[in-house]
């Protein structure tokens, strides 16, 4: 195999493949990228997998001088590609030995046996799920995964994202037990109602992939029993599904609203971040006092460290109410909401709190309050 590579065009695809390798795997070939060069098609395919996500892509900027295939070790060769002193270089592989020539410079390396590289899943037997603009899917994935946290072992749906197609609407939902986020939109084309659960790590890779494509690029989503496929242009990402049931979140959501508040998002985020400076190494809690027809007062107290109090303008309906929330979780939800303003619905001091874009119900973020002692609440009020 011999290739002539234009560095700038090629590296974008290489990096997509590189991210899906498994450099620490005990299977050597998983720490490499399989390059298949076809003289007939005059292009190459890059394949990489960590056995949970797999990617196939056709990079541009490559001229096939001699066809063949090789598994290139991703760390070594990837760095050489990035550091190549010339914009155009050649890579050839013969009998497992690779040579990269860049100008007058030459680098030799060993490749992995191609027979050890796993056969990547094929999407040709998968069922159509939906197709949509990359920008819409990116928004839904970014918003819908806010409540998911990596690293939680049980139940299996923690650390995952739920993709649910119902009546032509794609809902992206996640929860880490403490909060729940849901983002939905109408895809351009929708298949039959169905759903699947994907690991957050795979969804984050999808997010990165979507960030790198044109916003109008159509993404085709396919699903089969164990995998979901996302096809965007010359890239196909497959993610192994998580075999678990997502909780019946709709039955948990409460319609009860005792207070509503519409507020400037940036001001609220800024206030909470400043309060978080005080409380982040203590009980990371902000106490919100809603005064109807008046202001929002936010207080944070960390014993022996300090206190903070901020007063913000807000449009508040309902009775006067005080509730405490984890500042980090509040900030996460607020930052996920696009737009300048945010609508917050409260169900008393111990019920669900949901955030929305005003006038829009296609995204919400639900969070439960922190129960603090009455004494602490009173002290704050007397402060």
């Amino acid at each position: 195999m011999k290739l002539q590579i234009n560095k700038g065009d090629f590296l974008r695809s290489w990096q997509i493949a590189e991210r899906n390798t498994s450099p620490k795997s005990t299977i050597n070939s998983l720490s490499g990228v399989l390059v298949r060069a076809s003289a007939a098609d005059e292009n190459i395919t890059l394949e990489a997998t960590d056995l949970k996500t797999s990617v196939k892509c056709i990079p541009s900027g490559v001229t096939v001088e001699r066809e063949g295939e090789a598994v290139l070790p991703v760390r070594l060769v990837g760095e050489l590609f990035k550091m190549a002193p010339t914009g155009v270089f050649t890579v050839s592989v013969e009998d497992g030995k690779g040579v990269m020539s860049s100008g007058r410079n030459q680098y030799k390396f060993t490749t992995y046996p191609t027979r050890e590289f796993p056969v990547l899943p094929a999407s040709n037997t998968a069922t159509f799920f939906c197709s949509c603009a990359a920008a819409d899917l990116l928004t839904a994935v970014s918003e819908g995964t806010v409540a998911s946290t990596v690293g939680e072992d049980f139940p299996k749906y923690l650390g995952t994202t739920f993709f649910r197609l119902v009546n032509g609407v794609l809902k992206v939902v996640s929860t880490d037990g403490r909060r729940l986020s849901l983002s939905e939109f109408h895809p351009s084309q929708a298949g039959d109602d169905s759903d699947f659960l994907l690991p957050l790590a795979g969804v984050r890779e999808l997010q990165r992939l979507l960030t790198g494509v044109d916003s109008g690029q159509q993404v085709v989503v396919l699903a089969e029993r164990t995998l979901a496929f996302f096809q965007a242009g010359s890239v196909e990402l497959s993610i192994r599904r998580v075999d678990a049931a997502f909780p019946d979140y709709e039955s948990i959501l409460s319609d009860r609203v005792t207070n509503t508040m519409e507020i400037d998002k940036a001001s609220l985020v800024g206030a909470l971040e400043r309060i978080d400076v005080i409380v982040r190494n203590s009980i990371r809690t902000a106490i919100l006092t809603l005064s109807p027809g008046g202001d929002l007062t936010i207080r944070g107290t960390a014993q022996e460290i300090g206190t903070a109090r901020e007063i913000l303008d807000a449009t508040i309906d309902g009775e006067s109410m005080t509730a405490a929330f984890n500042t980090g979780y509040l900030i996460d939800g607020l930052k996920a909401i696009e737009g300048d303003r945010v609508l917050m619905n409260f169900d008393g001091p111990s019920g669900q709190m949901s955030m929305y874009r005003p006038g829009d119900r296609d995204f919400f973020y639900m969070l439960m309050p922190v129960k603090v002692s009455d004494r602490d609440l009173q002290e704050e009020e007397e402060d």
Binding site: S22, P155, L158, Q303, S373, D376
Partner: protein, 592 residues
């Protein structure tokens, strides 16, 4: 008093007492019989943790009507007939005394039918005597019903634990059997509620993942549940591990030729790796029957290996493979044994830590330095006790005035300890341990004031591996901020205490670690266990031993330590200071 032979009534109860200790012993024997009978479905039902009734039902080969009286007779079995067979056991049971032992201490009813028979049979035995034996209709297989366990041994009855504890022991046992025999479907019910069931589809991976509460293996061995197989000359090991980062204790289940064992040799081998690789472990050893003696323990909970060193070798190999790196477990550290054909021997020079002397403190080598250290210094012989054991002791450091003023900084030793002089003592202070104590008390003072509880937006179902335990202690856990609710028969976590700085921790992991530490020693208060989480945080924020510190910093630390409620130990129980009263020093040098 003259020596006389015991009556059958007495010796049968004594023998029964060795085999049947509690409800789980009954279940163990009955389930082993069911497995030996080739059952593919086994169900266990308990009433009040088995104290009132235990029913074990299987679809195995069954017993003919005529053989039922023999089945409940001592030393009658279909499993072996010669001494040679005893030396190469292929079955779990072999002594022929289990049912007789159960019958001697309870009201036993055995119903059974062989598949080829039209009718089945039933036999009832109360306190060892048969009260009924008749033909009856029965499903193929055997149903063992045990009521009023130990009604003939009231003393033993008193030693049974609470209903929840006994049920938990049975549940753990059935779970272990299910893991050892994944092709058999097990069901375990407690007071009508199904607490465990397995499909019997042979998929050990899914079973373990479900029980331990984590992801299964992916097709190439990734995921958080890990498995490997190792072999030595005479032994094979299938080793499963689910790491739980941050967990301090490990749960090890061991099986030898399908037998659930609680063997000290295996414990030693597994304990060595579980210390460095914490999490849940399941070890399945396969040994040629001729190289294993299962007839050494009344309840068959222990076995004797012909080549015990190979157990360590196999476990160590597994640790190397599963850790994916050179293991920190040195060959000698794995219990101190090396594999030796034909036997084993302790490795000379293996450091087993300081030997404990009977009074609980650590023995010191007899040399001059240690004599000085162990005699005049007050804290030198402070035993390493859990925080709960040392906390209640209100103690003050050597008198330096209420503000700690008056101490003189002498220097830092090359190993990082701070040497101080107060008006009545010479003091060596571990700056890390001291700073941990200071930070811990500071954090705890704040947290005591602000008990906060984070509610769950979506109640989180608990893994079966500890939901029983959580259910048993719901009330105590509620007292420290955990809240639960039932959903579809599952116990779900609906709120958890939001500890300072660990608020973002996985709540299930928090509950698991708190519960596992607490249930190891229920004498410690649950809140103390929870505060130990804070201790871990305090540890991370403290100065390190060997860190360069100025005299001002050392004296400031001394003053703050002096203001602590429990200054003598760090939150983990290590000593913070070693004080040598000047009087003792004077006396030691004969200057008094």
């Amino acid at each position: 008093m003259r020596i006389m032979p015991l009556s059958e009534d007495v010796y049968s109860r004594i023998a029964a007492g060795e085999v049947i200790e509690r409800p789980s012993s009954v279940v163990k024997e009955a389930v082993e019989n069911a497995i030996d009978a080739g059952a593919t479905e086994i169900s266990v039902s308990l009433a009040e943790g088995g104290k009132i009734r235990i029913v074990v039902e299987d679809n195995g080969d069954g017993i003919s009507f005529d053989e039922l009286p023999l089945a409940v007779s001592r030393y009658a079995t279909s499993k072996i007939s010669t001494v040679e067979e005893l030396e190469a056991l292929m079955s779990l049971g072999f002594r022929g005394e289990a049912l007789a032992s159960i019958a001697a201490v309870s009201r036993l009813e055995l119903r059974s039918r062989r598949r080829e028979d039209e009718d089945g049979g039933m036999i009832r035995v109360e306190g060892g005597g048969t009260t009924r034996h008749e033909r009856t209709s029965a499903r193929p297989g055997t149903r063992v019903s045990v009521e009023d366990l130990f009604f003939t041994l009231p003393a033993r009855r008193k030693f049974m634990k609470t209903t929840a504890t006994e049920a938990r022991r049975v549940f753990a046992l059935v779970r272990d059997f299910a893991v050892a025999y994944p092709s058999i479907s097990f069901t375990c019910k407690s007071d009508g509620k199904t607490v465990f069931s397995s499909l019997g589809d042979g998929d050990r991976e899914s079973l373990l993942a479900g029980i331990w509460g984590g992801e299964g293996l992916d097709s190439r061995g990734g995921g958080s549940l890990r498995m490997c197989e190792t072999a030595t000359t005479n032994l094979k090991l299938e080793c499963w591990w689910m790491p739980f980062p941050g967990k301090t204790r490990s749960q090890v289940s061991a099986f030898v030729n399908g037998r659930v064992v609680n063997d000290s040799l295996i414990k030693g081998a597994a304990g060595a790796l579980a210390r460095t690789m914490t999490g849940n472990w399941a070890l399945f050893f396969t040994v040629p029957p001729a190289l294993l003696d299962a007839n050494i323990h009344p309840a068959k909970a222990e076995v004797r290996f012909r080549y015990p060193g190979e157990v360590f070798d196999a476990v160590q190999q597994a640790a190397l493979i599963l850790s994916g790196r050179p293991s920190s477990i040195e060959p000698a550290a794995a219990g101190g044994y090396r594999s030796e054909p034909g036997g084993y021997r302790p490795v000379p020079g293996f450091d087993r830590g300081r030997p404990r002397v009977p009074d609980g403190s650590f023995a010191q080598p007899e040399d001059l330095f240690n004599r000085v250290a162990s005699e005049p210094f007050d804290a030198a012989s402070e035993p390493e006790l859990p925080p709960s054991a040392v906390e209640p002791r209100a103690a003050r450091l050597p008198e330096v005035g209420s503000s700690g003023d008056g101490a003189r900084f002498i220097g830092l030793t090359s190993s990082g300890y701070v040497l101080l002089e107060t008006h009545d003592s010479l003091v060596l202070m571990d700056p890390h341990a001291a700073h941990e104590r200071v930070n811990y008390e500071r954090v705890r003072a704040v947290s005591d004031r602000n008990p906060a509880v984070q509610s769950c937006a979506v109640p989180i179902p608990l893994p079966p591996s500890f939901s029983m335990s959580a259910r048993e202690h719901v009330e105590a856990l509620s007292g420290v901020g955990f809240a639960f609710e039932e959903q579809g028969g599952l116990l779900c976590l609906s709120a958890y205490p939001s500890l300072q700085g660990v608020m973002d921790e996985d709540p299930v992991r928090l509950l698991r670690s708190v519960l596992s530490e607490w249930t190891e020693d229920l004498r410690i208060s649950l809140s103390d266990v929870l505060w130990k989480k804070l201790a871990t945080l305090a540890c991370g924020r403290s100065v390190k031993l060997g860190q360069d510190m100025s005299s001002d910093e050392c004296l400031a630390l001394w003053r703050e330590l002096n203001d602590c409620e429990q200054p003598w130990t760090c939150p983990h129980g290590r000593p913070t200071v070693m004080a040598m009263p000047l009087k003792k020093l004077t006396s030691f040098f004969g200057r008094e």
